[in-house]
Every structure is written in structure tokens, then in C-alpha cells.
């Protein structure tokens, strides 16, 4: 195997494994902060035990995320040194800012939250929980800034053999930063909330720790429902950004070979092939004109197809298409599940719906799978370029 392929595999394996843990901790950090706030406000001892329990799960996940995160940062130098030299003027700053503005905050106050329970007052403990949540959410921001710059570079010009920063804020808030950041963070909330909801459901099914389980179910389910809805809003926003700024990727995601006015939305079909001539004929579920409408708000708007790009610049179509469509499918399943859950919770009947509780346990891995598919869509769809600069 050649070095490029091996380096790619190493990067992909590290990212995929690493990202399991931040997405859990970003979500749990918010939930713990909310639980700490309720504990501080009401003095309810059940919220105290609950936040201690989830903080322990947080800590186990956090440490794996930190340990693998160092590999992520160092890999740009170790394995991608020509890339590092080419973009260092722009790309290093967000990584450094992530340390300064996010990791110090998160790790410092986590120490206080985990080991300082007897050394700090209730107010400071709640504050520490919010600082951990803020730190983890900010760290996602800076790493998304770096990755989004690879997707849609801005605020630079090429001087000789390297990219040179010309406008810091344009580089930070490049076209894809905010849509992708909001989508990533809402997905992480969903991940943490599904974990909390699923484990609480398991406790209820086995009739254990009922106080903590009920508190966790109420909080987890509420955040999972709101988060799943936000995930759709931010996902829609993110897809439109891709359609506007990364048209080749958008066409690969949708499996659209030819530019079409009033393009149909493919809900399900056999996966498209790299060569349009081999494209499968088969059953498909499509909504006519819907892609044009969702993307541009008009049933007749043209959507750019792959035919507008030289074939050697196409991303691998089948993986991009499959990752994207399955992500959306999973998102729909998750939102549907939480819609029922929220209704049962509102009707105060959730504990009687043992079938739903069992589904909630089984659904714990779904957000993780969807998140991995989302990353695959973003990263595979970006090929063959490391960055479009």
C-alpha cells in the first residue's frame, strides 16, 4: 500500500474514533450543567446524585477524547507536513485558539467539578459545570473553523507556494463555518441526550434508581426532542450552504448526474455509481421537484448536477450518497422516536409505554452512527481535494 492511502486511513481512523467521545461529552456537558442548575435552584438531592452519576460517565468519555485529540492535532505535522507548510499561516491559529479558549476552560473546571465537590460551594459548582459545557462547545467551534476552512476556504491569497492570511474574520467565518458548527453542536446534544434518555429508560425498565432515572428521563428526553428538531433545522441550513458553495459535493450527495430544473428529491434508491453509464435502473422513492424547492425555495429552480464538473473532480459518489441518505434517514427515525416520547412525557404516561422505553435503550447508538455518516458525507464529498485552495 502506498503512503498516501495509509496516511488517509490513519487520519480517518483517528478522526472517526476520536469524534465518538467529544460528541458524547459536548452533549453530556450541557445536560450536566442544566442538572446542576436545577440542583442549585431547588436543592433537590436527586439532582445532586444524578449530576454526580452523569459526571462520572462524562469523565470516562472525556479522558478518551482528550487522549485521542492530541493525535488529531499532531497528525497535521507528522503525516501531512506539506499541507501544514502550505496552509500553516491560516490553519494553525484555530488549533492554538482551541487550546487557549476552550481546552483550558474545559479541563480546568472539570477538575473542580470532579474532585472539588467538597471544596466548593453550590454556586461555584454550578458555575464550573457551565464552564465545562462552554469549553466543550467552544472547542467544537475552533475545530469546525479549521475543518470548514478546508471545505470553503476564505480570507486568504496564494503567495508563491503557500496560502497567506488576508482577513482573519473572513477565514474564521468562512461560508460553511456557522452552518456546520450549529449542525455539529445540535447533533452532539442529541447524542448526549439519547445516551441519558436510553440509560434512564433502562433503569425504569429494570425498576432501578427510580428517582435519578425519572429526572434523567425528563431532562434527557426534553433535550433529545428539542435537539433532534434543531438538528433538522441546522441540517437543512447546512445542506443549502453545500448547494450554494460546494455544488459538486451537493450533486454527489444527491446522486444528481445532470443539471435539472425542478430536480426531484430522492428519499431512497439504489446507490448511484461513479460512471453515469452504469447507473442502476430500479425502484426508487422520489418526491418530484422537492430538491429544487428545499434548496432554493422554488419548484422550478435548476440544481447543478455532476455534468458541470470534469469527471476527475467528482467525489466518490456512491459512499457520499449512501452516507448522506442514511444520515437523513436516521435523523428522521430519531426525531420520530422523540416526538412520541415527548408526547408521552407530556401526557405523563411515558412509564407505561414499555415498548417505547425499550426502543429508547436500543436507540442509544443511533446518533453516533448518524454523526459518523455526517462526517463521512462532509469528508468524502470533499475529495479529491484536501482543501479547495
Amino acid at each position: 500500500m502506498d503512503a498516501v492511502l495509509l496516511a488517509r486511513i490513519q487520519f480517518a481512523v483517528t478522526v472517526a474514533f476520536h469524534f465518538i467521545f467529544p460528541s458524547i461529552t459536548i452533549g453530556l456537558a450541557l445536560l450536566i450543567a442544566i442538572a446542576e442548575t436545577i440542583r442549585h435552584r431547588t436543592g433537590g438531592e436527586v439532582w445532586d446524585r444524578m449530576s454526580a452519576f452523569w459526571t462520572r460517565l462524562f469523565a470516562v468519555s472525556f479522558v478518551v477524547g482528550v487522549a485521542t485529540g492530541i493525535v488529531m492535532e499532531f497528525q497535521f505535522g507528522t503525516n501531512w507536513s506539506r499541507y501544514a507548510k502550505f496552509v500553516g499561516d491560516i490553519f494553525g491559529a484555530p488549533l492554538a485558539a482551541e487550546g487557549v479558549f476552550a481546552f483550558f476552560l474545559e479541563s480546568g473546571f472539570l477538575g473542580l467539578l470532579l474532585f472539588g465537590r467538597e471544596r466548593v460551594g453550590s454556586r461555584l459548582r454550578t458555575f464550573a459545570a457551565w464552564m465545562v459545557a462552554l469549553g466543550s462547545t467552544l472547542s467544537a467551534f475552533w475545530i469546525i473553523v479549521a475543518n470548514s476552512w478546508m471545505q470553503t476556504p476564505a480570507g486568504f491569497r496564494i503567495v508563491g507556494d503557500k496560502a497567506v492570511l488576508t482577513d482573519f474574520w473572513a477565514a474564521v467565518f468562512n461560508p460553511s463555518t456557522l452552518p456546520r458548527y450549529l449542525h455539529t453542536v445540535s447533533s452532539s446534544w442529541v447524542m448526549g441526550a439519547f445516551l441519558m434518555t436510553g440509560i434512564a429508560a433502562w433503569f425504569l425498565l429494570h425498576h432501578r434508581h427510580l428517582g435519578v432515572a425519572r429526572a434523567s428521563l425528563r431532562l434527557g428526553l426534553t433535550v433529545a426532542f428539542i435537539g433532534a428538531a434543531l438538528m433538522f433545522v441546522t441540517g437543512d441550513n447546512s445542506a443549502r450552504q453545500v448547494a450554494n458553495t460546494q455544488q459538486a459535493k451537493f450533486a454527489a450527495m444527491q446522486g444528481l448526474y445532470t443539471t435539472t430544473s425542478g430536480a426531484p428529491l430522492t428519499i431512497w434508491s439504489l446507490p448511484p455509481t461513479q460512471n453515469p453509464a452504469d447507473a442502476p435502473e430500479g425502484p426508487a422513492v422520489v418526491v418530484s421537484r422537492m430538491l429544487s424547492f428545499l434548496t432554493y425555495g422554488s419548484f422550478t429552480a435548476p440544481v447543478t448536477g455532476l455534468d458541470q464538473f470534469p469527471q476527475d473532480q467528482w467525489a466518490p459518489i456512491m459512499p457520499t450518497f449512501l452516507a448522506y441518505h442514511n444520515m437523513v434517514l436516521l435523523g428522521t427515525v430519531m426525531l420520530g422516536l422523540m416526538l412520541f416520547g415527548a408526547w408521552y412525557l407530556y401526557r405523563r404516561s411515558i412509564e407505561y409505554h414499555r415498548g417505547w422505553l425499550r426502543l429508547a435503550v436500543l436507540a442509544i447508538p443511533l446518533p453516533m452512527i448518524a454523526i459518523q455518516l455526517g462526517w463521512a458525507t462532509a469528508e468524502v464529498g470533499r475529495r479529491p481535494g484536501s482543501s479547495t485552495a
Binding site: 479522558v63 507536513s81 490553519f91 485558539a97 473542580l112 472539588g116 467538597e118
Partner: protein
């Protein structure tokens, strides 16, 4: 002073911060098998570093990011050139991080003994590997026409670099011992005191040996000392280092820890003075040395980064100091902890 020189200094400051802070928890990890004999003592040692080690490691992450941002070719050349050594460092840091967290979760003695050994190795290896890497940077490495170092892992294992590697291990061990003397009491504190007393002469001898050896192996490091002002740094280091055993003997524990930290700052200061304006001196080969002048990012990037540092670091230092103050005093095995 130009921006690139400011960043040379600031990366030095980040490295000093890392070496002082992570230094004491790496050192505690190297020592813990020797100064803590049973499970309760081990837990006491771990509790002495538990709330803060993670934040300490962020200094390394931030220094890496700052190096990437301010001097991309240095980051690219050193990290890709020292590939296998760095991968080993990363694996060691991963295992070390999880051994701390995982150890406490299961009470079986075999489980805990395994993680204790992994924790010790995972603390020793980073100290050694970082020292060897710094030793090679100080000595200079051959750079080919593309500015790459290509002699692999074996090329890094030269006597001078190994000497600096051992010096780093001694320095971190001394720092760890000083921290444990400050934070623990009873048998652990006494054993740590012994370790510090025995470790100091080893550290001093290794430093003298590395210094003498550098005049043969890396004479370029002495160029800046033609300027008499440059001698202030090694003199300050020597004063602090000599005061250390006195503070230890008179049982001024906080002072001893601060002097140990000061000697780390002094040692890295000496390295900075010796190196400037080089970042990676070229040892033969087709490319010139990477210097503050030819390897820095654009002025705009360095200015933005300076703003990030000037806004961010005072806040970081303020709340870090606050968190340390919350955990001041001696630790025990009981209560919330490992």
C-alpha cells in the same frame, strides 16, 4: 523586537508552562511506583495530581498549535521528521491519560497493578522522548533540499540527544518529587524527599555533562554567549538550582517546588538563548537552518495570534491559579478522588 521574535519567546513561555506543570505530574508518575508502596499510598499520589493533570497537558497541545500557527515549517519538519518518536510519545500519553482514569474504576489488585505500571511507563517515556527531541533540535538536524529531515528514528539516537533526554527525565522527576513533598505527608513525603535529595545531584551532573558535551557536539549553541548579557540566564539558573537543595533541607516545601520550577524555566531559557535566532539549525544538508526570520508566518497571522494570546492567556492563568488555590493543602486517599 519583531513579531517573529515575540513568538519565539511566547512559544518558549508555553513550553516552560508545560514543563513546570505537566512536569510535576509526569514526575509523580515516574516516581509513584517507588514512593507509594500500597494502594492507599498510590491513590494519595494520584489524588495529588488528579484535578489538574489534564489542564497541564493542554499546555503541550497549545504549544503545538502555536508552533503550527507561528512557525509552520518548523512544525512540519520536526513533526514529520521525528515521526516514529512522536507516535511513540502519543501512544504513551494516551495510555497514561487513561490509566489515571481507568485505574480507580475496578478494585481488583491485578487491574490496579497493571495500570500502575502503564502509568509509570507512560510518564517516563514522554519525558525521555521530549528530551531526545529537544536535544536533536538543539544539536541541529540534516535538512534535505525540501527542508525535510530524513534520518529516521536511529538518526535521533545520538549521544548528545540521549544525554538531553536523560536530563529531561531527571528534571521532571525532580519536579514531581518536589510536588509530592509539597502535597503529601508521612511516608510518601519522606520517600519523595529522599528522591529529591538523590535526584538533584544526578540532575546537576547531567546538566554539566550536557553543557560540556555541547561545546564539542553543537558548538553553534555557544555563539550567542559572546554577548555578556546572555550569561545572565545561566547565572540565574545556577543560583536557583543551587538554592534548591538548601530549601529542601530546611523543609521549605513551597519554596523548594518554586525553585524546582524556576530551574526548569532557567534551563529552557538557556536553550532559547543558545538557539536564537534558529528554531531548527541545519546540520549540513541542502537547506539552510529554519530561523525566526525564514520560518515565521505572515505578520497578520502573528498579530492575530498575539491578540489571542494577550486576551486568552491572562484569563487562563487567572482561573488556573484560582483552581489550584481551591486544591491547596495536603491530599489524602479518602474523599472524592481516585
Amino acid at each position: 523586537m519583531d513579531l517573529a521574535t515575540i513568538w519565539f519567546l511566547l512559544i518558549g513561555v508555553l513550553l516552560v508552562g508545560y514543563a513546570i506543570l505537566d512536569g510535576f505530574d509526569l514526575g509523580a508518575g515516574i516516581l509513584h511506583l517507588f514512593v507509594a508502596r500500597d494502594d492507599t499510598e498510590r491513590r494519595t499520589v494520584l489524588n495529588a495530581i488528579a484535578p489538574v493533570w489534564d489542564g497541564n497537558e493542554v499546555w503541550l497541545l497549545t504549544a503545538g498549535g502555536a508552533l503550527f500557527a507561528a512557525f509552520p515549517p518548523v512544525y512540519a519538519t520536526v513533526f514529520s521528521g521525528f515521526y516514529l518518536a512522536l507516535m511513540l510519545l502519543l501512544v504513551a500519553l494516551i495510555l497514561r491519560a487513561v490509566s489515571l482514569e481507568f485505574r480507580s474504576k475496578v478494585e481488583a489488585p491485578a487491574w490496579r497493578a497493571t495500570w500502575d505500571v502503564i502509568f509509570a511507563i507512560g510518564s517516563f517515556l514522554p519525558a525521555l522522548l521530549l528530551g531526545v527531541a529537544v536535544g536533536n533540535v538543539l544539536r541541529g538536524v540534516p535538512l534535505d533540499a525540501a527542508g525535510d529531515y530524513r534520518d529516521g528514528l536511529l538518526g535521533l539516537l545520538n549521544p548528545f540527544a540521549l544525554l538531553v533526554g536523560l536530563l529531561a527525565v531527571a528534571m521532571f522527576t525532580l519536579q514531581g518529587a518536589s510536588w509530592l513533598v509539597l502535597k503529601t505527608e508521612g511516608a510518601i513525603a519522606e520517600r519523595s524527599r529522599t528522591a529529591a535529595r538523590l535526584g538533584w545531584p544526578v540532575f546537576a551532573v547531567l546538566w554539566i555533562a550536557a553543557t560540556l558535551f555541547s561545546s564539542q557536539d553543537a558548538p553553534g549553541l555557544w555563539d550567542n554567549f559572546a554577548n555578556p548579557l546572555a550569561w545572565l540566564v545561566p547565572i540565574a539558573f545556577a543560583v536557583v538550582a543551587v538554592a534548591y537543595p538548601l530549601a529542601l533541607r530546611t523543609r521549605r516545601e513551597l519554596l523548594a517546588f518554586l525553585l524546582s520550577s524556576g530551574s526548569i524555566a532557567g534551563l529552557i531559557g538557556i536553550m532559547g538563548v543558545s538557539l536564537y535566532p534558529n528554531l531548527v539549525p541545519a546540520l549540513g544538508g541542502a537547506s539552510p537552518s529554519l530561523t525566526v526570520g525564514n520560518a515565521s508566518s505572515s505578520d497578520l497571522t502573528l498579530t492575530v495570534m498575539l491578540a489571542v494570546a494577550l486576551i486568552g492567556m491572562p484569563i487562563v492563568i487567572a482561573y488556573t491559579a484560582f483552581i489550584y488555590s481551591r486544591f491547596r493543602g495536603k491530599v489524602r486517599a479518602e474523599g472524592h478522588g481516585y
